[in-house]
Symmetry: C2
DNA sequence: TTATTAATTGTCGTTTTGACAATTAATAAT
DNA sequence: ATTATTAATTGTCAAAACGACAATTAATAA
């Protein structure tokens, strides 16, 4: 009856830009393909959307498979669907960016892929339109992180203000005054100061903080102003 | 060689939430389907993505066909892809929201569809997950409009501050002090005051303004703070 | 001429911002 | 033990932004 069947059918995939932070620099997780086409080339973590799963399900499945992690911060970015973006067959890909605590990551044994962390500013060329995806993801991460408290997702449970500070500078690619930053971030009320100090970075040591989960969830949609003189 | 062919294939569509403003209220454009399934039910403007077009192309094509308009403000929202969202066959849909000047709209003769404007707060139930799409689009419109100067897209070339004011209140579903709003919106530097006045709404008349195109383009990504006490 | 109405400009205390300085808490060197 | 050193933390302050609220203005209608 209806024309559905006459319409062309396509493959639908997901690709994840996985961001991590090693304490100094922003990194992304890439995989070396063990399959044709583009065998041995670096690419984003991705996979086809199965018959019984949503794109979100697929992204979570792929992430679990490649990082061993579940319930990570995952945000849909946009769809990539130019005809010809995949040389084999027309494929739509839903781009996601993920934020993970790099220390929780554990390499998964996998015959098809070989995963590796790269500095965001020193990464290999990627297949297809994956380079564009990374650029878009970075832009969106910067945008979102300027307004919402999401960067905690890349830090361990316990973290210090200086750690946060470096992360913010790294993501926004700018210098931020430590004194003003400290005041701003604590004034959000999202942090709980712990008794313990991290002495690895300095003689004085920096107090550990943890997230106030309740407030974090309640404020996840709130607008903040974490970046001075912000212009996107 | 590669497994692509063994993967399931799907339909990919676009659906557009078309927003307009009649001077008093926010409206959306809906169509009555003349096709099975869900014949005679109201739905969003949409269509399948053709073999040689991107989702953006498809959205523009569909909009042109249903409104007669080209080059309208169009923004990708998210993909809808739950299995079973379409009862006939698995279909992914890329949701877009569009902002148009309602007065430029002209009904298109179309055998398959019948289009009509509805008040955003008094609209019929829609097919499939289209109700969710409208809710999402409204939320995103509100979010975006709070930070970026996009609502001009729904007004004529010449507009008055009071018109803008009503539109902002309508989109954000809140009362905004006229005096502070006027000061804020003019201080963005995006408006050029014209000599002419609009006398239809009051005795004193309100000055017409037009957009400073150059500054508008340059600032389209700038953060503004147009809504007082903003909490999303 | 006056009343009316909505647009526009003005006032002002409070809060936020961001540039910059001073202090503090630890360890390492003397 | 004392001092130097270093990074974390707290402090200062002037300028700008914010938002609650009042007064004035420009037109038409009575």
């Amino acid at each position: 009856m209806i024309e559905y069947s006459r319409q062309p059918h396509y493959l639908v995939a997901v690709d994840c830009i996985v961001f991590g932070f090693d304490g100094e620099h922003l990194k992304i997780l890439l995989v070396k393909r063990g399959l044709e086409p583009e065998i041995n080339k670096w690419s984003l973590i991705g996979g086809f959307v199965g018959a019984d799963e949503s794109p979100d399900d697929a992204a979570n499945r792929v992430l679990k498979k490649m990082t061993g992690l579940e319930g990570v911060y995952l945000e849909q970015m946009q769809i990539y669907g130019d005809p010809g973006r995949d040389p084999i067959e027309r494929t739509f890909s839903v781009g996601y960016f993920a934020l993970i605590d790099i220390h929780k990551y554990q390499a998964q044994l996998n015959d098809d892929y070989e995963a590796e962390w790269f500095l965001i500013n020193d990464r290999p060329k990627l297949i297809f339109d994956h380079n564009q995806m990374v650029a878009d993801a970075r832009k969106k991460l910067r945008y979102k992180a300027a307004l919402h408290p999401i960067l905690f997702e890349m830090l361990p449970k316990k973290f210090t203000i200086p750690q946060l500070h470096i992360l913010f500078e790294e993501v926004n690619d700018t210098k931020i005054d430590t004194r003003n930053f400290s005041r701003k971030i604590t004034s959000t009320g999202l942090l709980i100061k712990l008794a313990e100090k991290d002495k690895t970075g300095s003689k004085k040591g920096a107090f550990y903080f943890k997230l106030d989960k309740k407030k974090y969830i309640a404020n996840s949609q709130a607008f903040l102003n974490l970046i001075p003189n912000l212009r996107v």
